[in-house]
Assembly symmetry: C2
Homo-oligomer: 232 residues x 2
Amino acid sequence: MNILLASTSTLFGGQYLEYIREEIIKLFNGADEIIFVPFARPGGISHDEYTDKARSFFSTINIKVKGLHEFDNPVEALNEAKGYFTGGGNTFLLVKTLHEQGLLPVLKQNVESGKPYMGASAGSNIGGLNMRTTNDMPIVYPPSFECMGLVPFNLNPHYLDPNPELHHNGETRETRILEFLTQNDTPVVGLREGNWIRRIGDKITTEGSELTRIFERGKEPYEIEAGSELKF
Amino acid sequence: MNILLASTSTLFGGQYLEYIREEIIKLFNGADEIIFVPFARPGGISHDEYTDKARSFFSTINIKVKGLHEFDNPVEALNEAKGYFTGGGNTFLLVKTLHEQGLLPVLKQNVESGKPYMGASAGSNIGGLNMRTTNDMPIVYPPSFECMGLVPFNLNPHYLDPNPELHHNGETRETRILEFLTQNDTPVVGLREGNWIRRIGDKITTEGSELTRIFERGKEPYEIEAGSELKF
């Protein structure tokens, strides 16, 4: 497999996908056209506009982009595509749409056959085993929380450390993930912004500018450095 | 109806339920025993321990507390109870447990018949129409997101204003609620910590030390003062 799952599309003060440009070039090496999955975006921007945003970046690295919503037969489109990028937004909306259209198993099969896949935020969540560690608000009810399992764990994109200056009693991100572990025996990779997961064949590593925080049932959460292999 | 839905159980630096003591005394006036619903708490503390925490507070106002988990027949227990308090934690776990045991309609019917109900955080969410505006992580998959609809809107407890100093690309609370409104035509009451909703008969008001932020489809979000009546 050939996969890149990024915490975020955009770093604070940066341009869309710019911080990860070199990795994207390597990931999609040899593909001159990919499919963009725009379904996570719930409002303010149409599927066409969201696809244009991705298209604008990929044009700078000579890759054409088609939106999955443009096809009458999205299953056929996925099967014929050379690569995939799923943008961020609301994971509940993304997973609901993909399940209802029967597209998750099709995408999974194609990626498992070796076609390159990139996700950002919600698009990375669907590469995990399920979406039970998303940060998003459950604005719609998906028929299932199951995802593609392109990696044998769950992700928490936009992982955020506790802020001791915040005088607020909502749960911290770490508390939420530890609560997940009381109900699920599934490792969780807390991906800070600036970090991503890279899978090449069977080797899965964490990459990027920050340490990555790992949560496993029965262990204290721990930090690993960029380049570390993930083996659960 | 006689209802109190609080944003949080505990203010920063404060003691459990202390900030809202006088309101609780008024709400449960005449009841010498209530049932505590402990199902939202996913870990670190058992249902017994969580019930003890509530019991400890209520003993100071001469009200006995029994945990709903203590009964062999929870439906009968709800029907025979004089009042209810549902504590906070994870709304997904709370709603899943209540749906699976068939308890939501029983609780709803009793509250609609006039028995006092209090919720804090997740326990307040279930008083709304559905749980689609919870902040919680979807650590389990409930059979439905529908709630009791004791008030004709949804709540967002622990409502948090955007923090301009946070250099992070996760969505703000306001963005999430506006995304909810693209998919649902349901008003949302953003309850800052320190605030609560009070329903006495047909009159529903916001109360507490902070302004309350209201979100309706097709309108700019707006603020209302304590004591304002909620009419949608």
